[in-house]
């Protein structure tokens, strides 16, 4: 292991190289481009012995990944925003066919209007495609989640694709210090990929994706849902193994100053850093506040979220995506739904912020905290329990 300074996108490419992938198929799109660029350079200059497939679109990129993964290869791709939207048709195919592809999605706001900056509208629109979804906060976490991603995805108890989300620019173009693993360490943690018994093989033909009549589709979907739900145990296991091997501290849900907290702030990804500073500032004033960071969004970690919120009076949920006409942001509706039947559940309020790359500041978290507190104390009533936080009215 060594300490280096690296751009987040390079940290991803470096992790993928160390993971000795067999096939990469990708199409460049800002802010993912540096990942695709760096990987194609590694392949071109002989540093990485892999097939790099230049495709004419993201639809083709994921199609190529699916084909390659079905033969048993270790496969990586990266995209974001409209690119992920173009992959949409193939996303459930990769997952339903139980192909352990690892993808980095550099969260970018979906059009319109044309916006290359970060929010979670892309990955949230892919929420129900049956992939495992992680959110990374920084370069270190991104590197580690990609590495652990291959182990988890390829585990015989899982066999599902993984989307590692990281906010565009904030977690792609920023140069950060991080500890990278040596090849020897990676080889021990991530052995060469096993070719599954059912992999595409001319000597042992199999049929994939054949027509399924109403008398079998229910069982197919249930098998897939069971696999995604039970993957949480393997995720927990691998997080813990990696943490002890490489001196990290990875849990599915991470808490910060939650011990005696009465109000919690729950969110994913890069904004957690800013949120910790806001929590510290509020703690200085004597406020009993803490933060809950969600590292895994799919499978949704019900037990961990209920556990972390058990002593709270109120919980503010921060979304970076809009569920148009729905129950607040996607994270809000999931968290509130997870807590609905739990005893002594906290009051849950939702805040949408950070849309299309608008900066999320400590003041935003502090304002949301104060609003949550005044609603809790009955000093203020709100028309809806969720709202946009940063709108110029």
């Amino acid at each position: 292991m060594k300490r280096v300074g690296m751009e987040c996108a390079t940290a991803v490419a470096h992790a993928v190289k160390l993971a000795r992938v067999d096939v990469i198929a990708a199409y460049p799109i800002t802010p993912q481009t540096h990942i695709a660029e760096q990987l194609s350079e590694y392949v071109a200059n002989g540093e990485l012995d892999a097939e790099y497939i230049n495709t004419e679109s993201e639809h083709s990129a994921l199609s190529a990944c699916i084909g390659a993964s079905a033969t048993g290869a270790r496969v990586f791709t990266a995209t974001c925003g409209q690119g992920l939207a173009l992959m949409h048709e193939l996303l459930p195919i990769a997952a339903g066919w139980r192909l352990p592809i690892v993808m980095v999605n550099t969260n970018r706001s979906l059009s319109p209007n044309l916006n290359i900056w970060g929010d979670q509208s892309d990955s949230m629109a892919s929420r129900d495609c049956g992939w495992i979804q992680f959110f990374a906060e920084n370069a270190q976490e991104l590197f580690d989640l990609v590495m652990m991603g291959f182990r988890i995805a390829e585990d015989e108890r899982v066999l599902l694709p993984i989307m590692v989300n990281a906010k565009g620019f904030y977690c792609t173009h920023v140069i950060e210090p991080l500890n990278v693993l040596d090849q020897e360490e990676v080889d021990k943690f991530l052995p060469p990929k096993k070719i599954p018994e059912y992999a595409l093989n001319p000597d042992k033909p199999t049929t994939w994706g054949s027509v399924a009549f109403p008398d079998i589709q229910t069982e197919i979907k249930k098998q897939w849902d069971d696999a995604l739900r039970s993957s949480i145990n393997v995720i927990r296991e691998v997080f813990s193994e990696y943490s002890s091997l490489f001196n990290r501290n990875y849990d599915i849900v991470e808490t910060y100053r939650m011990d005696d907290a009465e109000i919690g702030l729950i969110l994913t990804g890069y904004a957690c850093g800013t949120c910790r500073v806001a929590v510290d500032a509020l703690r200085e004033e004597g406020e009993k506040v803490g933060m809950i960071k969600l590292r895994v969004f799919r499978p949704f970690p019900f037990d961990e979220v209920i556990d972390a919120s058990s002593n709270l009076k109120a919980l503010a949920v921060f979304d970076e995506a809009v569920s148009f006409g729905g129950a607040g942001g996607p994270l809000f509706s999931e968290v509130r739904s997870a807590l609905y039947n739990s005893e002594g559940k906290p009051q849950v309020l939702g805040f949408i912020q950070g849309i299309g790359g608008r900066d999320i500041t400590t003041d935003d978290f502090i304002r949301a905290y104060r609003e949550t507190k005044s609603v809790l104390l009955g000093e203020k009533t709100v028309e809806r329990d969720f709202r946009f936080l940063q709108v110029r009215e």
């Binding site: 066919w97 139980r98 066999l159 059912y198 199999t206 049929t207 994939w208 079998i216 069982e219 098998q223």
Partner: protein, 100 residues
């Protein structure tokens, strides 16, 4: 991982990703129960030209006795009626399945 294929597998019997692990298994699918109309061959009119055998999309017309006799394999015949349509001497009639 053990593969086992049954017509209506239970969840526990379903191969991963519903992959069909053995090749050449389409004959296990009895598509005959899709049928509402059944072809009936009039042996008096039939000239043994074999056009029904050529046209049948499901190879459900069976050529027997070196072409001296043709019959319908009702396990697979979907009742599409192409054989009746193509028969040059109108020796094939489509009858409702309920009728004897």
């Amino acid at each position: 991982m053990k593969f086992k294929r049954t017509a209506k597998p239970r969840l526990s019997e379903l191969p991963i990703a519903a992959i069909i692990p053995e090749p050449g298994n389409s004959k296990h699918y009895s598509t005959g129960d899709w049928r509402s109309l059944r072809p009936v061959i009039d042996r008096e009119k039939c000239t043994r030209c074999g056009l029904c055998w050529i046209y049948c999309p499901d190879t459900a017309i069976i050529k027997a006795e070196e072409g001296r006799r043709y019959y319908v394999d009702l396990n697979y015949c979907k009742g599409c009626g192409i054989c009746a349509e193509e028969c040059p001497v109108k020796a094939i009639t489509m009858v409702m399945e309920e009728e004897p």
